[in-house]
């Protein structure tokens, strides 16, 4: 799978399924630098969002749940691809999150770590102790000014003190989390396999409100103003939905059904549209306001990640191609 296409200045950063991390000129498609992670051990995948700092780009790597595999967090110098430091782990399939001078990430083994951003040395680690026998997906974490929020493989949502890893609170919902955690206005949002979306108070973990959904919420959540967007998945019927709900979870504002289900992990917000891609190479955009289809296009491959910068939209497909589209400025 591709990591999320991320643009900084003129460069597009993306990791491929074959173990290469690329910096590509976003306008011309010319590669500026690349790094092959297979030189550092048995690993070849990039998942999740990279972290961009003033001069670095950090990305996690893994070899899925392979017990012989390894993973790292790489801190690349953005302009040259030089490795400033790398932190070795069993796997790092999650986003890399920064709080102050530390970065945070999780592994397929449900170990969560804090590492010093400047040196790459370990600050602390936290483990739920659950064995990931089925190679379940590790949900992306969220963070506020001084706390990290994670969904453990034990189905529990934890609030950890960012400076120490100490558990501040934990909350077990009636069903296991099935989406990444998202934080907005001191409220945590999460979907569960029980076909519900929850709002939790970030201070206490108390459930504020919840909303039943037509199918299981999956992937990541996205916000625009007071709307929350997500994908739902009915795996048995290979049907997916893109839905918009209000941020207080009082009801569904609009819903768009699709078959097959969306494969691009999250509704990507771009130009007042929600953009989604599937494994037939179809990309569709729906108006954020009311869900009306705006445009669609076709490419070759299973679309796994979508990113954007200004008028440009980027899509990574599982088969290994990165596509760059540009919205015409002509009237």
């Amino acid at each position: 799978m591709f990591s999320t296409p991320t643009v900084v200045g003129e460069l597009l950063f993306i990791g491929s399924c074959a173990g290469n991390f690329y910096a590509i000129n976003k306008t011309t498609g010319q590669m500026q630098w690349s790094y092959n992670i297979r030189q550092d051990g048995k690993q070849q995948s990039f998942h999740g969002d990279p972290l961009v700092t003033n001069d670095l780009i950090l990305i996690g790597t893994d070899n899925s749940c392979d017990p012989d595999g390894v993973g790292h967090v790489y801190a690349f110098e953005r302009d040259t691809g030089k490795v400033r430091w790398k932190y070795r782990s069993t796997s790092v399939p999650t986003d890399i999150i920064q709080l102050n001078s530390s970065v945070y990430f999780g592994s397929f083994q449900d170990d969560w770590s804090s590492v010093d951003l400047r040196t790459g040395s370990l600050n602390w680690s936290f483990s739920t102790g659950v064995l990931n026998k089925n190679c379940d997906w590790i949900m992306p974490p969220a963070a506020d000014e001084n706390r990290l929020f994670i969904a453990g493989l034990d189905g529990v949502i934890y609030s950890l003190e960012a400076s120490s890893g100490r558990v501040i609170w934990k909350r077990k919902l009636p069903a296991a989390p099935s989406t990444g955690l998202a934080l907005k206005d001191k409220t945590i949002y999460v979907g569960t396999s029980g076909q519900r979306i929850y709002r939790l108070n970030a201070e206490t973990g108390t459930v504020i409100s919840e909303l039943a959904t037509e199918a299981k919420p999956v992937g990541r959540l996205a916000f625009a103003n007071d709307s929350l967007f997500m994908f739902l998945n009915n795996a048995s019927e290979r049907v997916g939905y893109t839905i918009s709900v209000d941020s207080k979870l009082t009801g569904v504002r609009w819903k768009q059904r699709s078959s097959p289900d969306w494969a691009s992990e999250r509704p990507h917000l771009w130009k007042e549209s929600v953009v989604a891609g599937n494994c037939r190479g179809e990309i569709a955009a729906f108006r954020t306001r009311d869900g009306e289809p705006v445009w669609n296009l076709s490419l070759k491959g299973c679309i796994r990640s979508i990113g954007s910068s200004g008028n440009m939209l980027f899509a990574g497909v599982q088969e290994g191609t990165i596509y760059a589209y540009e919205l015409s400025t002509r009237p």
């Binding site: 491929s16 011309t28 490419l299 008028n311 191609t321 990165i322 589209y325 919205l327």
Partner: protein, 48 residues
Amino acid sequence: MKKNRGFISTLVLVAMASLSCAQSSNKKDANLSASAGPELRWQYETGG
């Protein structure tokens, strides 16, 4: 014989040019179906 080889080469070139045109024509169709959507600028093959 030389003339024939030249003729065949020309045919091959014409055939290749047609294939190219067909490809670019397909691209246009995809963009037309996207109506006001974005247009393909470049693609990069990572090989996997």
